[in-house]
Symmetry: C2
Subunit: 308 residues, 2 copies
């Protein structure tokens, strides 16, 4: 099986999905979902975020979640960290990997992190120091890599320069994130091809939102450029603060269904994912955007109506 | 500008969208929408269907719609016809083009049309006779070309044989329809490439539903194989009787936004389409699946929040 026949999905619903839910998801429910996701075959799960409990009360139980989940051998449990304090909490909670985040857009980084981009990079360097010798992996994300809702298009050179600086800091993985769903397939193919001249596909993750309906088309465009690893959220949880009613992350089970129909292996149990997704509306208290959980797999046939 | 830089959208909301709406859309509202669509730049609009008013009361005003719309020079107003009687009504109402429909799947054709496939083909021959000398164009659709909800996968040879038989009957255009959204991009690329060895791209239309989230990815796959012409519905109207809550046709304004972001010309006024789509919930009485109308175009920027 060649790399062209495989796609690696990192499940991010417990972090990127739950962080914006207005209703607090009970810690036991979070743990049950993460454990079920582990059993469904994920090798990477972004389990929580060590942000300020005041800023994001939805994830105030980050340490307890990491402590109580049943860790599956071979699965990497990732924690997003916004700063050194968050990194120290995540290290104490024994996250397998820290995901550091800043935006390509100066305006977005100030709005989202309260820091200039240079201050974020300096914080990254301190986190790298703190993690040294712990055996914990580091990934760094370029948010708004495909466009910023305040500034608009971001120069590819700016994004690629950040990739270079991340690698120089010593992080293992890099994520390019389309934070508010502004990317298009032509842009994705070009930027991913350039990023892959700097970092091998095994270490690059693409994070797409389906805000304007292009999430899965962007996945295929990234794959054509050589990408292997993608973030996705069960049920398409997540969202965009600037687009009420807009859809969130690309939907895990829709992505996996597409892959399996195209003979691309994911190692994931699609039936289990659909069952889990169908439980989400009861958990979060609203409908979710995922479509395969509503429509069924293409191979789920129906009885024809009786005709005269 | 090469053919690679152009995509032709046929708007089908007035037919494929309105036909399944439980609430009757007033004739004046249908006409106002079609006229606004004409002004937005469409060169092809599937305006209605001459089905039995008992079977599809939603479109019982087909003749009045065709009579009262303000026809735009250069725009082709298409009417779907299920049988010879419908074709005679459509010819009397001066449709510019008739769209004949049957399914690749014998089971689906019996369920949908009440006919065997051979009986449908015989009816097509009679319709061709009836249209001869009128100057009215003919298009014929292969429904369930990418899969049948009762039978499952359809052999490509079966679909391509129907394309051959349509062309032998003398129709000008052929549509391959993914009636219940079962297609995937790999399958689309392969089948479209084979179809284009039989019919030039200018005469082939692809009709995708977004039932499982792959509609726009399938458009790009078809384009890679050389396709030029696509059906889409404003707001993503339409649906699938076997998947309550599932999305319908691919969404016109989402498709057009994608194209314009990728420097593919459509000749359509995206701002006008978004305005029209934002009026649909009031017209049909429910939310619609289109995403760009909710999220705005990628270039619609937001003011950054004030930070300390």
């Amino acid at each position: 099986m060649s790399a062209r026949d495989v796609l690696i999905v990192q499940e991010v619903a417990p972090r990127d999905g739950f962080q914006i839910e207005p209703r607090f998801i009970e810690t036991a429910d979070k743990i049950a979902l993460i454990d079920a996701l582990s059993r469904a075959g994920f090798t990477r799960i972004e389990a929580t975020s060590f942000v300020s409990p005041k800023a994001v009360p939805a994830l105030r139980d980050a340490a307890e979640v990491l402590e109580r989940i049943a860790r599956c051998p071979g699965t990497i449990y990732v924690a997003l960290v916004p700063n050194l304090k968050g990194a120290e909490r995540a290290l104490a909670a024994k996250a397998d990997e820290l995901n550091l985040v800043m935006s390509a857009s100066e305006t977005h980084n100030r709005a989202n992190m309260g820091l200039t981009c240079e201050a974020s990079l300096a914080a990254f360097a301190r986190i790298v120091e703190a993690a040294r010798g712990t055996g914990v992996r580091l990934n760094a994300t370029v948010a708004t890599a495909f466009g910023c809702p305040f500034e608009g298009a971001q120069a590819p050179e700016r994004v690629l320069d950040l990739v270079n600086r991340y690698l120089a800091l010593g992080v293992e993985g890099v994520t390019l994130a389309d934070t508010t769903g502004m990317a298009n397939p032509l842009q994705v193919r070009r930027l991913v091809a350039r990023a892959l001249s700097r970092i091998p596909a095994e270490r690059l993750t693409l994070h797409f939102h389906n805000t304007r309906g292009l999430g899965l088309a962007n996945v295929l465009a990234a794959r054509e450029a050589g990408a292997l690893r993608f973030d996705a959220a069960l049920g398409g949880l997540g969202g965009c603060p600037f687009a009420p009613g807009a859809t969130g992350n690309i939907c895990t089970e829709d992505l996996v269904s597409m892959c399996h129909e195209m003979a691309i292996a994911t190692g994931l149990d699609l039936d289990a994912l659909i069952r889990l997704s169908r439980g989400l509306p009861a958990l979060v208290g609203h409908d979710v955007p995922g479509q395969v959980a509503k429509a069924g797999r293409p191979c789920d046939l129906h009885a024809p109506p009786r005709t005269a």
